[in-house]
Symmetry: C3
Subunit: 138 residues, 3 copies
């Protein structure tokens, strides 16, 4: 039984989903661990991790529109030092989460056929984001 750790850097283009399934799979393959547990941790409070359908881009547009309504920018917030997207970014992060732990089998995460792993950027501006990858297994 052994483990490996890696910091993955993702450049986002402002609000929206960036798929990271491929770099995660590649790193996992490099570790040589075939059975185990893969954990992803997003080190921010205004970007999150989510699993979504990786086929249809219209899904992503509906997601964006839904979250604009669920956690609106025009709501009155006390904390707005960094602009109207500051506090909504924190709330969207709380609702979608910064952590995923996925079993590993045959050298790959046990994702369903339609599942992709996404970084969900909640700030308007592009950001450089870090996701810590950890795997434990053999």
């Amino acid at each position: 039984m052994r483990q490996a750790l890696h910091h993955l850097t993702i450049e986002t283009r402002g609000k929206g989903l960036t798929e990271i399934t491929r770099p995660v799979r590649l790193w996992l393959q490099e570790t040589g661990i075939t059975t185990g547990l893969l954990t992803l941790w997003c080190t921010h409070t205004s970007a999150s991790l989510t699993v979504q359908e990786n086929a249809d881009p219209t899904v992503r547009r509906d997601i964006a529109a839904f979250f604009e309504d669920l956690v609106p920018e025009h709501r009155q917030y006390i904390h707005d030092d960094e602009g109207p997207d500051d506090m909504p970014a924190h709330l969207r992060t709380m609702l979608t989460g910064v952590n995923l732990s996925i079993p590993v089998a045959h050298g790959a995460p046990t994702l369903g056929v339609w599942q992709g792993i996404y970084l969900f950027e909640h700030r308007r501006q592009p950001h450089r984001r870090t996701v810590v990858l950890h795997v434990l297994g053999d």
Copy 2:
């Protein structure tokens, strides 16, 4: 230290919660691992995993009603290939999550007295769902 992996199949009856605490506990016992970490991964984008009170069925009805309002079917979605419950199913999955990692002690998950593990089906039609179970420990 060793690990075990299993694919649990659950037949849902359309929208709502199906308790899976018992089959999860039974599988864990069969592995013989008494201390460790148990991970559940739901391999879908329209069904999720959640922890709820396992006593009162009225809780489940309130949950159903609340999510119908939070992510309504009658909202206008671009992605509706599979009907009005398609996109709401994706959004409810994002909000409730597809992953749980529970410490294991004395051969059982360290659930609280009132906690039960549930598969949350978000589609109207019954579905066959898969939850990957993984445990690491000794």
Copy 3:
């Protein structure tokens, strides 16, 4: 490779966030495990775990106000045995989650600079809450 398990007790003062980053870090140091995976499990259905900005108290006030609106007490619930905050507490727990798994490096959880770990109490009255801590590594 070894593991350690601990039950952390937190006294809440009613609805709101209680930071638990410090006791979690201290316990982790005591285990002597420097690389691995740390898991937190909140054993309740009316309190959750979340990661938030640990600097600004106005963030916490905005979070409280947002959740009062997202899951209102004045909504009609069937399950209200323990008062108007009973069912909203269950729903808020579902939306924010009871589980976090964080990679460990150099003897500490790999939290971002602004990230703090919080117990989110959803009941009006103060409660004694339990969070199970588990670490696996070496």
